[in-house]
Each structure stands twice: as C-alpha cells, then as structure tokens.
Amino acid sequence: MTTAAPAPPTATPARKSGASAPTPARPRRRGGLGPAALTILTWAIALLFVSPALWLVLTAFKQESDAATDPPTFFFEPTLDQFRTVFASDFLPYLGNSLVATLVSTLLVLLLGVPAAYALSIRPVKRTQDVLFFFISTKMLPVVAVVVPLYVAAARLSMLDTVWTLVILYTAMNLPIAVWMLRSFFLEVPKGIIEAAQLEGAGLPRVLWSVMLPIMAPGVAATALICMIFSWNEFFFAVNLTASQAATVPVFMVGFITSEGLFWAQLAAAATLASLPIVVIGWVAQRQLVRGLSMGAVK
C-alpha cells in the first residue's frame, strides 16, 4: 500500500481489502505518548466519532417506548419490529427505483466516460486542458440554477416522475468527476502496451476492451464506486422531479420529517436499511475508494 515498485495491477483485486487487522505490530521507539496509549486514544476517538451512527443502529432495534427517553436508554430488549414496519410501509418500490437509478447511471457514466478519458489521456487532443476544465466546471454550477428548465423539459416530454429522468441527470452529475478519475488511471497505463496492440492492428474498441480495461479494472471499480455513492444518496433531483412512481430511497426518508420525535425507532430502522447497501459496498471496497478519491495518485 505504500510506495512499492509498480506492482502488477492485476494482483490488486486479489489483495485483501476491508478489515485487515494484521499482526499487532511492534511499536517503534518514540518519545511522548507510548504506543499502547496512542492505540487506546485512537480507538477512543474512533468510537466517539462514529457513536452517532452506532446510536442510530442501536435505536433501530428498540421499541418506540425505549427510543425517545430522558435519560437515553442504553439497555433494552432488542426487537425487529421496526424493520418489519418499514418493509410493510411500501419500502421496496423506493429501493427498486434507487437500484435502477444508481446502477444504470453508473453504467452509462462508464460507457461515456471511459472513451472520453481515453481520448484525453492517450495523446493530448488539442485543448485537452480546456476540455478537462470544462468538465470540472460543470460540477461548480449550482444545480438549483438548472432545475426549472429541467422540470419544464421533463414535463413537456412526459418524463416527470420517471426513473429514467433521474438516470440521465445522475449520469450528467457524475460524468465530470468520473472523466477526471478515469483519465488519471489511464495515464498510469504504460504507453508501450497500447502501441504494441495498435501495431498488431487492434482497433480502438479492442485496445480499450482487451488491453487497457484489465489493467485499469481497479481504477474503473473505484470510479464506479464513487458514482454509486453519489447517485444512491442524491436527494435534490429526486425530491423535485419525482412523485409517487419514481421516488428513491432518500425521498422515502422525507416521510419521517412530519412525525418527528414520535417514531424515532422506526426512523432509525428506515435510515439503517436505506444506507445499508452503500455502507456495505463502501466497507468492502475501501481500498478502491481511496484510490478513486485520490484521483489515482495513490496505488
């Protein structure tokens, strides 16, 4: 994980990701705080930092009568009632919409973004920098500035309250960052390999698909992961452009605003369920996440 020699990238997926707790390493000699004390301090801070999330999960397993108490209840008999209630209240259609919007838009981002990033990395097209700058600049435009025209356009095309509107918008939303990330991954592919393939007469699709993609798989995974997080969590377009048919999981959560203070346990169960898919994916693919966020600067 540190700066090793350029490791064969194909080995990366095999590397164990996620909770790797290797041998409790022997501490280096250092002044100041002892290593054991530093470890305890680290753990204390980590637990304190995530305590709101832990509290959320804990609350999800409570009865409503235990959820909002003064002082807070720490010991109780766990129950799955709240999860049952959430599923009973039509949660699944929202989940389905979120899945479609997230997966299809991520796929589209890769379909559009991989060739674009390739073009921007191989030989600098004239004005490469301008194009890159243009892409990132679209992320700086506040979405509220375009939501009315989008709303009107969707209404005219009878695309209000359809999940495909969200798919298109999420694709546009994530494409700029994806192009930036993918380009930085493309830049790491040795030029010799590409030229060799081209000399053998392989066309662009072949070069992309069978030469570059295998090398770039971790980078593509990292990009896809970031796109999925942002699509799954997106709220503004979802709440403004959908109603009953195409509403996604974050919109489902709005229903709890009105019942504030009354159904905390149920709210906690819904929040836990709604976040679970992305949380689990993020946990499993931590290393890819780091690679993606650092725009490929770290191997």
Partner: protein, 310 residues
C-alpha cells in the same frame, strides 16, 4: 495556405492528420455532447427565464421584463443572507472537516491492533445517506429533551439547549462536518501512505522532532491531497440541500437557508420562475468568479489554462 506547401503528398499528409485527429477526438464526443446537452442547455434556458416575469400561480403572466429580476435579487436581503450562509457553511465545514481529517489520518497511519476495523468505522459517516444523517442529528442527537448531545452536556449546564432552533448554523455545520470528515481523512491517509518511508527515517536519523517532521516534511508532501480535498469538498458542500431541507427547512425564518435552499423555496413554494432563475444566474456568475480565483490560487502549480468557464 501557400502554394508552396500545397503539393499532392503534403495535402495527403494533412488529410491523414486530420483523420487521425478526429479518430482521437471521436471517443470524447459522446461524453462532451451529453454534458453540454444536460448541463449547459438548461442553463441557457435559465438565462432566458431570468429576463421574464413569470409566476406559475398566475397563468399567462409571462412577460419580458429585462433586468428587473436582477435588480430585485440584489436588493433582496434574504438572498444576501443566504449567500452569506452558503459561505459560512462551506468554509466552516471544509476547514473543520479537513483539520479533523488530518488528525484522524495521522492516528490511523501507524500499525495498531484493529486498525482495519477502526478505519472501517471511521469512513462510515461518509457512506450514510445524507438525508438520514440529517434526520439522525436532528432527532436522536440534538433533540432538546431526548437527544444524546443534551444528555452528555447536562453536567456542563448545556443540557436543555435546543441546538437546531437556537443555533441552527452550528447544528447544520456539525452534521456536515461529521459527513465530510471521513472523505478528508481518506484523502490525507492516501497522501500519508504515498510518502516514502526513507524520507521519514532520514528525518528521524537527523533527530528532527515529531512536530518539526510534520511541518517540514509531511505537510508539504500532503499539500496536493489537501488541496484536492478542499476543492472537491467545496464543490459538493456549496450545493448542500438535503441537510438543510431535513434539519431546519432553512429556519427559523431564513436564518439557516443557504442559496440552494432559498432558491428552491422561491421556485417550488413561491412558484416565482423569473425571480428564481435570476438568482440562479447570479449564483452561477458568483461561483465562476470565486472558483476562478480559488483555482488560480490553489492550482497555480497545476496545468490549468485560464480559460473562461462556460
């Protein structure tokens, strides 16, 4: 095109070059055209709307009014307050999250028992749906009667502070910082781990103290990662909508409304299309100015040519 160069082989070379140029450019086009269609075209329409007086509640009210909407924007105290809030939210969130992120990353950048588990726990707030995060903080954390914060702070005499209504900005920034700290931490951690061990060991041999090493060696090395974090964080936090929608609804009054939320209110609750379009245009122009300045400052060493933002 001078006659001297216009010989037959030269022309052919130029033609192949042009063909090659297009072959290189072609893969870029679908993404570029798609982005222009979905992000730039609607903005042009927004500019058009901003010159109209148009309220959806009054059909057939659409008339051309020139720059009147813009005049109204700049004399709208609430708009200016929302602009100020946006700056406060963004800078406070990004700075605090970055400081915490650096601290956590430094703690994680050594081997210790259960390091992987600790890191896994620490990244979780970034993965939770922001809407859920906002609700979590608003209810189970900040509730004046049943909230955990009040319970913890009772010994300090802050037990019954109603954070969300008395200090809405603090409450919103807290939730945002909680959400974005893991993002910064991951970036800084990536930077720390790309740092060569030999440099650190050389520093240790030289007898440099921990703080000296951090300021003299580590921080300069991290600079790029910190800049990237600040840039990406700002881009996303400026557009924050869900946290405010769920926690405070911009309230009390418009005390905690930022620009996205305020414009949303004017659009979808006030139905004032012309007015909110003008606000959108003003925000975009303001963002371009700030972003260009910031990019010039941050990325002086980077490759950006200073072309205008479209």
């Amino acid at each position: 095109m001078s006659a001297a160069t216009d010989t037959e082989p030269a022309r052919r070379t130029r033609a192949t070059q042009r063909a090659q140029g297009w072959a290189l450019r072609a893969p870029l086009l679908p993404a570029l055209i798609f982005t222009i269609l979905v992000t730039q075209l609607p903005f042009l329409v927004t500019i058009f709307y901003s010159l109209q007086s148009w309220n959806l509640l009054r059909p057939d009210s659409q008339t051309f009014v020139g720059l009147a909407n813009y005049l109204a924007v700049f004399t709208d105290a609430q708009f200016l307050g929302a602009a100020l809030n946006t700056i406060v939210f963004t800078s406070a969130c990004v700075l605090v999250a970055m400081a915490l992120g650096i601290g956590l990353a430094l703690l994680l950048d050594r081997k210790f028992l259960g390091r992987g588990v600790a890191r896994t726990l620490l990244i979780t707030p970034f993965l939770i749906i922001p809407v859920a995060t906002a609700l979590l903080w608003k209810t189970t954390m900040f509730d004046p009667v049943f909230g955990l914060i009040g319970f913890v702070l009772t010994p300090f005499g802050l037990g019954d502070v109603d954070w969300v209504s008395q200090y809405p900005i603090v409450a919103v920034v807290t939730a945002l910082v909680w959400q974005w700290t893991p993002f910064m931490m991951l970036l800084v951690l990536a930077g720390l781990q790309s740092q060569g061990r030999d440099v650190i060991e050389a520093g240790q041999v030289d007898g440099a103290g921990r703080w000296q090493m951090f300021v003299g060696i580590t921080l300069p090395h991290l600079r790029r990662y910190i800049e990237l974090g600040v840039l990406l964080g700002s881009i996303y936090v400026v557009n924050t909508f869900d946290t405010i929608y769920m926690m405070t609804q911009g309230g009390p009054g418009t005390a905690s409304a930022n620009l996205p939320f305020y414009i949303y209110q004017r659009t979808f609750l006030g139905f004032d299309i012309g007015q909110s379009a003008a606000m959108g245009v003003v925000v975009v122009v303001g963002t371009i100015i700030v972003a260009t300045l910031a990019l010039r400052l941050i990325f002086r060493s980077f490759m950006f040519a200073q072309e205008g933002i479209s």
